[in-house]
Amino acid sequence: MKSLAELLNGIRPEFDFRLSRDFIGDGMLDSFDMVTLVSTLDKTYGISIDGVDIVPEHFQNLDTITTLLHRYGVQP
């Protein structure tokens, strides 16, 4: 299975997501990318991320996304 960084690179191949602590602030993910990412995570891990969790703070960096996935019982 692909790592989280690889999944992100599938959406935005031009960025190295391991180098940033703030994907939104650094301009690496926008609102539309977040929607695509949620859909990718849902499909990859067989989960359904609740709408109330689709907020920038959960998609700030690899750690925050990992924490979110843990809440859905996923170990990325």
């Binding site: 935005r12 031009e14 960025f15 602030g25 650094d26 301009g27 359904s48 609740d50 709408g51 109330v52």
Partner: protein, 274 residues
């Protein structure tokens, strides 16, 4: 509907629609700073019930409808129950991959909207040009306070404010203050402009234009070259362009932009003319 008094109120309303949403649908992709400006100018109304929240933002002589809904059914009910749709000129839009928009487009068309225009998002991901020669072109200058109204006048003359979200004067003033607008001067006249917004490694090109009477003098390419040269950190350039504007799309392609698959359908109700 009630006037939205703070950004917190807007976020609380959105979260009501998000909670438990399995088919969440929205066109409310706001930048907090932009929303803050609209709220401070009392331009935004809000109404929410039964899994959907609708925002109406006053934009000159029409309203722009934004929505957040638990699912399309909740959206359909909320839109059908909105009296302003029958009395006021209203524009809305849906953004996404073409194939994913079929249901939302159908729902909004059934609610009385018609397709008004369509925009494509184009992206340029190659490293920016390294030349700085364009920056030395003396006709290219950063806009100053005195330029705000002429900039807005030129934007309103050149673009369709219903489809292309022309900023209000206070937004132009903020962009000038932030150094986001470059001008091509022709003597004392404003020959063209380039308006951009940067966010970290991404820069969005909002408007790039040369006034009709100053075309074929190299102003457009000088503006674009300066833009690309002065954003050395940017790895991703984005813009929205009208899908039927083949001439402009060709120009963007010349500078390395390509459509990336996102489309924005602009829809109008029957109070908006053709």
């Amino acid at each position: 509907m009630k006037i939205v008094g703070s950004i917190g109120e807007a976020i609380d309303a959105v979260n009501l629609a998000r909670r438990g949403a399995k088919s969440y649908c929205s066109n409310f992709f706001f930048a907090p700073q932009k929303l803050q400006g609209w709220i401070a100018h009392r331009e935004v109304l809000c109404e929410g019930a039964n899994g959907a929240v609708l925002f109406l933002r006053q934009d000159r002589d029409f309203w722009h409808l934004y929505f957040c809904a638990t699912d399309p059914v909740a959206l359909r009910c909320a839109v059908a129950a909105l009296p302003m749709l029958r009395t006021e000129p209203v524009i809305t839009d849906v953004v996404g991959q073409e194939a994913a928009l079929v249901e939302l487009l159908g729902l909004l068309e059934n609610a009385g909207f018609r397709r008004y225009n369509r925009l494509l998002r184009m992206a340029r991901t190659a490293p920016p040009a390294t030349t700085t020669a364009a920056a030395l072109d003396p006709r290219m200058v950063t806009a100053g306070k005195e330029d705000c109204q002429p900039i807005l006048d030129l934007l309103l003359r050149s673009f369709d404010c219903r489809a292309e979200q022309i900023p209000m004067l206070y937004e132009v003033e903020a962009a000038v203050e932030a150094g986001q607008i470059w001008l091509a001067r022709c003597g004392s006249a404003l020959g063209g402009l380039l308006f951009h917004e940067a966010q970290g490694l991404t820069s969005t090109l909002r408007y790039w234009l040369v006034a009709a009477e100053y075309r074929d003098q190299g102003l457009g390419s000088a503006l674009m070259n300066r833009y690309l040269a002065e954003c050395p950190r940017v790895r991703r350039f984005l813009l929205w362009v009208l899908a039927d504007n083949a001439r402009t799309i060709q120009k963007y392609e010349h500078y390395g932009f390509a459509p990336e698959g996102l489309v924005d359908y602009v829809l109008a109700n029957d109070r908006i003319g053709p």
